[in-house]
Symmetry: C2
Subunit: 336 residues, 2 copies
């Protein structure tokens, strides 16, 4: 069988794009060894974390090697199974990469999906990593509770939009920071934010937040770092929690960029700042997925997908992700 | 009765010193109203936090007003009591300010001292705020446990020297950062550090720490911020804890100084960074003081005091504190 793949050919110095990947066609034997499954990818996920994965900078996973298929979570359908828990035709979620087919160890990160529960593509977003990230970061690191004021950066994005809704469902006041008027409208209309700020046009971001949160920000769910985060720290309430979920606003960490020191806010307001990586919470996924699915079935969890057809469009979609063009979770569709 | 006082006359733009205070002599009536005590100060405490207290910058206490007696914790002896729990002749700890005498509400922060337990001056340092700060910051924020590698900035200072010993008594490997060879020797010989680094002469501080902590730093007890802290963050271990206890290396926070962004370390290493202010832990003081006294009586808690005689020397002693000249807890003695 021919297998089209996108491999990393050059390490980006900044935002990754088409110039860093090449399409290659290889032969693949879809007969899985013991404990393995062969799958055909249906949807590829385009994620902010990917810039980190292709960088040699310190990260939570080893970098994708030059010449290696681009790492990606995907939703796929099993073509052949050699594992007792999986059958041909099953929909699965896994780390199957930017390629058409994959033979993979069924015991590593593979999860069976129920197409009756929700569209299977949602396993890459709202009912998958995005929803899980929002859920654990808010509840574990953020310790959110009813009455808290929660600020969310990239508020209309795949993770932020779910975080906003979870915080609202928990009884928090939610303030979203996003980069266009279209996204501001989406925040209010689809993602139930109490307030949304267009940080590009609002003028003084810090003043805008302080006006909406006169008693301070209890929890800051931050996927951006950079200037947006710099504006939120002075707004934090006593004993506030800031969660570093991503650093999308920083193009490169080599050399380390400089910014306003936060130590005085951390000290005098007794802030708690913590880093969040979803891989640390795998043992708790089932409980969280049940809760997320329950909210979804009750109609309380909206999500947007931005779907582009064709494997070859994945690198450009990744560039657009960092440019903030997409609305909702960015997916590449290879088949239905 | 005449009462000599040091009042704040000018708000410092940077390090406070003699030019910011004036000596005034006022009349004081030592007859305390109901619930109050009159005291004669024996020892004044000179503390890193004082720069924050005289600044208009955001802090955890309101700023000392121009014309007001300088805020200071002190050890004093009661001359007259109008409170059933206190008697003439009792040694007490309290917030009695830079002055000879004070009439104060006995219910606010006043604590009776046992002169048999330890020299009463220790209530201003090792068996007082310094020891308590080290104790709670390490155990509550830092969650230290045997086997952890703990880095302590201002390692030979009033707080740092106790923190180093508490961490060692808990079974941690301790690395002290300090600013002279004399202090390095003190760290090893009196404060039981496993390692001590002279950050002024060691060259690359980050490399020096990494050599001593090949598996990373689990807990960073930071009283400095600034360049020293910048060198420690890249050395942190996965899930490490950094505790902001002070920011002694930063002369002013207006305008906010810039430094390397730490968000990527916080994210990828899942660090937990938290601010510590002792006032938050007052309810737990008795338990901690009992533990500190027990270590002291067993000969396991060494401390140094640097004692200067005369109220008029307090402002210069404060300047010297920020210049790192003193060894151990800086005190002003007014009487014995």
């Amino acid at each position: 069988m021919k297998n089209q793949q996108l491999v990393l050919t050059e390490r980006p110095d900044g935002i990754p794009g088409p110039q860093h990947f090449s399409s290659v066609t290889t032969d693949i034997d879809l007969t899985p060894p013991q404990g393995h499954i062969a799958v055909k990818n249906l949807y590829l996920s385009i994620d902010p974390a990917m810039r980190g994965w292709v960088s040699l900078e310190e990260n939570y996973l080893p970098p994708v090697a030059i010449g290696e298929v681009m790492r990606s979570i995907t939703v796929a359908r099993i073509t052949n199974s050699n594992h007792p828990d999986f059958s041909e035709g099953d929909f699965v979620y896994g780390m199957f990469g930017w390629q058409e087919y994959c033979v993979a160890d069924a015991s590593f990160m593979v999860r069976k999906l129920d197409p009756e529960l929700a569209p299977v593509s949602s396993a890459l977003g709202a009912l998958g990593p995005n929803g899980l990230t929002a859920y654990f970061a808010l509840y574990k690191n953020g310790q959110i509770k009813a009455g808290d004021t929660v600020v969310i950066s990239t508020a209309a994005g795949g993770v932020g939009s779910i975080a906003g809704q979870i915080a609202k469902l928990t009884g928090c006041t939610t303030i979203g920071l996003t980069g266009s008027d279209e996204k501001v409208a989406l925040c209010s209309e689809e993602f139930s934010y109490d307030h949304a700020i267009n940080y590009k046009t609002c003028g003084d971001i810090e003043a805008a937040i302080k006006e909406l949160a006169p008693n301070g920000v209890n929890v800051f769910f931050d996927s951006t770092s950079g200037a947006i985060a710099d504006a939120v720290y002075p707004c934090m309430a006593m004993h506030g929690r800031a969660i570093q979920v991503g650093t999308a606003a920083i193009d490169s960490w080599i050399p380390t960029p400089v910014g306003p020191r936060r130590d005085r806010y951390i000290l005098t307001k007794r802030l708690n700042v913590s880093g969040f990586v979803l891989l640390d919470h795998m043992g708790d996924f089932p409980e969280a997925l049940t809760q997320l699915a329950s909210w979804y079935k009750q109609g309380n969890l909206n999500y947007r997908e931005s779907v582009i057809d064709g494997l070859e469009n994945a690198p450009l979609a990744l560039t657009h992700l960092y440019e903030g063009i997409n609305l909702g979770k960015q997916l590449i569709r290879l088949a239905d």
